[in-house]
Amino acid sequence: MRLTLLVLLCQLAFCATGLCDEPEHEQYREVVVDDPYIEMHTGPGRGYPIFYVGERGEQIALLKRRTEWFKIRTERGKEGWVHQTQLRTTLNLDGDPFDLPGLGVEDYALRRWEVGVLYGDFGGANAISTYGSYSFTPNLSGEVWVTQVIGRFSDSTAANVNIVHVMYPEWRASPYFTLGAGEIHTSPKATLVSTIDRTDSTAHAGFGVRTYLTRRFVFRAEYKTHVVFTSRDDNEEIREWKAGFSFFF
C-alpha cells in the first residue's frame, strides 16, 4: 500500500518535472558549409587565433553575431567565431543558398529613421550637434536638431527643425540642400559680468554631402548659414560647418 503510494508520487513528480516531455533545444539557424573549409577563431576579430577548421558539408549552428563575425557551433560541439565572408556560400539544410542577414547599401536607400552626432564650428565656437531624422520619400526628409555651442565668452543651446532634400538618394555619396528654422538660447560665461541670457529666433539654409559607409553607418558633412533675429537693430549672421556620423534603422 505504502509502496504503491510512493510509486504514484514518484510518477507524478517525474511527469511534473517535465522529464516526460521531449527535451527542448534552443532554436538556432542551422546551415551547411559550402566553402572548402571554414576557419574558427577564438574571438570575433582578425587577431584571435584559429583553433579549429570546419570542412565542406559540415552542419553548423549560427549562435550569435558581433560586427562581421558569427559565433558558430559545429556538430562536434566546437564553438568559435567565423568571419562572414566564409559564410557567404553556406547552404540551408534543404540545399538552397543561405541568405546571410546583414545590412547593405540597399537598406540604406530604404531607410526611414536616422540619428546622428556631428561636431564642428559655430561662428568660431565649438559645437556638438545631435539630430533625429525621418524620411518621407527617398529624396525628402525632416530633421530635428539640438546643438550645444561652447564658446569663449558664451554658451548656447540651439534647437532647429529643417527639411532636407537629398539630390541623388540612390548614389552612395550624394549632395543635399537644407532649409529650416529654430531658436537659440545664449548665456554668457560666469566670469563675465553684467550680461543677461537671451533667446532669439533663427532661420538657416545650407548644403552638405552624405556618404554611406558600412552597415548602419553614414558619414555626413555640412555647411549652414544661420540668421539670428536679435532684438537689436541688425540681425546677426552665423556660419556653421560640421561633420559626423549617423546611424539609420
Binding site: 504514484l8 549562435l63 550569435k64 540551408n92 543561405f98 561636431y119 560666469a190 556620423f245
Partner: protein, 218 residues
C-alpha cells in the same frame, strides 16, 4: 485491495499518456493509412528569415579616480554606451561625475573659497570613436585564456565645472578583457583637455582619469 491500486495506476498511466501526447504518433500513423485523394502540384516554399542574435551594443558602468587640475585627485563614477561598427571601430558615449576638493590655495589661506559646493562638482559627457588596435588573447595562469583588446579612443564633449560648460577634447587608451562573450571588464586611462580661466588667465587644463568598469554586450 492491491488490484484496485493496480487499476488506479493503469488508469493514471492512460490519462497521462493521453495528456502528454506520447501516443500521438501512433494515432497519426493510423490516420495516414489512406493516401490523400488530391496530391498538390506545388509544394509550399517556406521562406525563412534568419534570426540571429546580434550583439553589437555594449553598456556598462565604471568607477575610478580623476585628477582635476588644481583641485586634487577625486573619486569618480560614470556610465558608458558603445556601438561596435566593425571589429576594429566603435563609437562610445560616456558620462561621468566627481566632487572635487579644495585647491592648495584655499586650504592654506583658510578663508577664501573659490567655488561654491555646486560649482565644485565636475561632470562631463563625451562622444568618442575608438579603435581596437591590439586584439588578441591574454593568459591567466596556465590553463585559462581571455579574449582581450587594447584600444585607442578619442572624442569631444562637454565638461561642467566651476560654474561653466567647457568644450572638452578627450584622448585615451584602454584594455578590454572578456571573461565571457557578453561580459567585459575595462581598464581605461583618459585625458580630458579643456581651457579654463578660473584663476585669472586662460590656460589649458589636463585632467587625467583612470577607471575600471564592467560592460555587457547585447
Amino acid at each position: 485491495m492491491e488490484s484496485r491500486f493496480l487499476l488506479l495506476l493503469l488508469a493514471q498511466a492512460a490519462v497521462l499518456v493521453g495528456l502528454t501526447g506520447c501516443g500521438r504518433d501512433k494515432l497519426v500513423a493510423e490516420d495516414n493509412g489512406q493516401p490523400p485523394v488530391i496530391e498538390p502540384d506545388v509544394e509550399r516554399r517556406e521562406i525563412e528569415t534568419a534570426k540571429i542574435d546580434t550583439e553589437d551594443f555594449e553598456v556598462g558602468i565604471f568607477a575610478g579616480e580623476i585628477s582635476v587640475e588644481d583641485f586634487g585627485v577625486n573619486s569618480m563614477v560614470g556610465a558608458q554606451f558603445a556601438y561596435h561598427i566593425t571589429e576594429g571601430f566603435f563609437v562610445e558615449a560616456s558620462v561621468g561625475r566627481a566632487d572635487t576638493q579644495l585647491t592648495s590655495f584655499e586650504r592654506l589661506s583658510g578663508a577664501a573659497q573659490l567655488l561654491t559646493d555646486s560649482e565644485r562638482e565636475y561632470s562631463y559627457y563625451d562622444l568618442s570613436v575608438g579603435y581596437n588596435i591590439f586584439p588578441g588573447e591574454s593568459f591567466v595562469g596556465k590553463d585559462r585564456s581571455l579574449n582581450s583588446a587594447t584600444y585607442l579612443i578619442g572624442g569631444v564633449g562637454k565638461t561642467t565645472f566651476a560654474g561653466d560648460d567647457r568644450f572638452t577634447v578627450s584622448l585615451g587608451m584602454g584594455i578590454r578583457l572578456m571573461p565571457l562573450d557578453w561580459l567585459a571588464v575595462h581598464s581605461d586611462i583618459r585625458d580630458h583637455v579643456f581651457d579654463i580661466d578660473l584663476l585669472g588667465e586662460e590656460k589649458t587644463s589636463h585632467n587625467i582619469e583612470a577607471h575600471v568598469g564592467v560592460t555587457f554586450f547585447f
